[in-house]
Subunit: 197 residues, 2 copies
Amino acid sequence: MEARKPYDIDRLTDVALRVFAERGYDGASMDDVARAAGITKAGIYHHVAAKEALLERGLRRALDALFAIAEEPEAREGAAIRRLEHIVHRVVEATFTLLPELTVLFRVRANSPVTREAVERRRAFDRLVAGLIRQAQSEGAIAATFDPALASRLIFGMSNSLVEWYHPGGQLGPAEIAAAVENLVFDGLRGPGAGAV
Amino acid sequence: MEARKPYDIDRLTDVALRVFAERGYDGASMDDVARAAGITKAGIYHHVAAKEALLERGLRRALDALFAIAEEPEAREGAAIRRLEHIVHRVVEATFTLLPELTVLFRVRANSPVTREAVERRRAFDRLVAGLIRQAQSEGAIAATFDPALASRLIFGMSNSLVEWYHPGGQLGPAEIAAAVENLVFDGLRGPGAGAV
């Protein structure tokens, strides 16, 4: 229990995001957040004006993490296919370290100014990846048959799905899962380890 | 507007599933369903006892469709890799024809007897596909590096993500999207069309 330590806004956001991820944002009340935090609802309103302010902070964490990945040197320099590999790898890693934040981001619907902005930033990240796929195609490293925007959505559709079924401490760890995502995205099921059929 | 025709339980389920898919099941009220159907709430309760009965019917439609695919001859006979290709193809097709039903299924959390049963049936479908992947590995058609259960989750994570961004009448149609999913799942981005890097 963390109840004894004084809450700051960051720790309160941690708790709120876990509650939102578990119950769904619409299904979670400030009472639920207060209960999970072990403090009174008045104690929460001392820190934030509304539930949506906690959502906004969580969405910002998730999106800042994604864009920070895109700024890493390995995502900015070298062959486009290598930059793409780096981004996919790091997004999967981020999914494990920011599980509640990304769970909430991936489920969010654009139905308010806060959520619309988050969805818009997420689309900008998708466009950035689509641009890399296009470049890798022009460099001959990715099959020309793929629509770049569609491929980007499908790749993140796959990696985002982690948040729906991954449980820390399960049979497969983050490293195995990250490797499987990368193998599937880049080489497919029939990849290098399979015979030609 | 469909308001003038008398409602039956199937058409009411159609409307309810669209509302659940749009607002989220927890966020949707029977008032929302009544408004979308153009009838009174009393008119709805004439057909069903509770919101969850509409959810249950929708989840059953989605799961029955998945298991019907697994019963098709092309899913039961021949090389495991071909059977798997058939299932992936048909699941993507079903996602387009049963978009609200599968949207609701893919988002459902096991927090009641009805949703627990749905999640359990969905897991059984995952296990069936994992078994096919295992068999295709033993037949040398799928890289031995993949954990079958994990690969199954990732594949459907990708195809399920359609429900989050597909809009009928968009730039890319069902056929292009289905082809991209299959290419990505089986051959990956580097697939046959790309040079070796």
